[in-house]
Amino acid sequence: MTTKKVSIFKSVLAADEQFAHSIRKEMSEREILVLNLIGSPGAGKTSLLEETLKRRRFNSAVVEGDIATARDAERIASCCVPVVQINTRGGCHLEANLVSKALKALSLENVDVVFIENVGNLVCPAEFDLGEDYKVAVCSSAEGADKPLKYPHLFHECGAVVLTKKDLFPHVRFDRDLFWSDVDSLNAKAAKFEVDNLSGEGIDGWVDQVEKWLNLKRRS
């Protein structure tokens, strides 16, 4: 027996990337904007979605990713938009093969925007392409201002950063300047928003951005 070296040169995630590619192609043909919301558990992803959906500026559908329960999907369903829940059963992130199945379960007729709410986690979801147009980093003031530099991949890659719980700034001694200067150093091009999901303050600016992306996609 001898040893033979074989070159492979293949992406580890080649199989899943095929699913991401198919999603991107189909959604482009249908002119549907796809956003992948990523943030820690409790960052306010579902609340941000509820506030966004309430404004009814475009027709939305939602893919909810959670380790367990259908609680988020129930909250979204009460906003009267089509929603499908993916339970990853312990998996710390969504993968394109799961999203592809979920999208088939949704009626996408007349839908303008699909929001994918990823599993609450700042690390792993950033590593998996779901066929989205943009990743959106959702981070709350209560998590601390040091998160962008601690989790650089997401903040570097995303199309927008939404800082939630702005009403808590004084209570958690949030260093706002540090947060935004770190975000800027990682990703000067990202659209940047501060919102309070409870009062709805700042939500309109974020919704304007979604509409801007949607118009860009339709023109391309």
Binding site: M1, K4, K10, V123, F128, L186, N187
Partner: protein, 120 residues
């Protein structure tokens, strides 16, 4: 902890390759992994050993080659490396910056045991 997903993907890719080529024993697997991919090598090794049991990859050495972050400015052409990716060129301040390495997640090569008459 996405290392198990990565290992599963490696096996989904390599096991059919071993079956198709009749490789009964893989001695070494080389992966190229960019710093930005936030992979913990120890976790990857542990998952790999667990998943390899009972397959042609059992006992194979996993060689993880880390690829450092390199970026290049589209405007002035400056190239630089660092621990974290930057959104702005350090020389001219342009935001048109490409990450040219550090995001790899590739199966580079294998070393397989073959009968001498099969070696080509």
């Amino acid at each position: 902890m996405h290392e198990m997903s990565l290992v599963e993907a490696v096996f989904e890719s390599l096991l059919p390759l071993c079956a198709d080529n009749g490789w009964k024993r893989v001695e070494k697997v080389t992966l190229k992994i960019g710093t930005l991919r936030q992979v913990i090598p120890e976790a990857l090794l542990f998952c790999f050993e667990t998943a390899a049991a009972g397959t042609p990859l059992e006992g194979a050495m996993l060689d993880i080659q880390e690829v450092p972050i390199r970026q290049k400015c589209r405007h002035c052409g400056l190239e630089w490396g660092g621990e974290i990716p930057l959104g702005r060129c350090t020389a001219c301040g342009s935001t048109e910056v490409d990450t040219i390495s550090g995001v790899e997640l590739d199966i580079e090569s294998l070393e397989v045991a073959v009968d001498d008459d099969e070696k080509s």
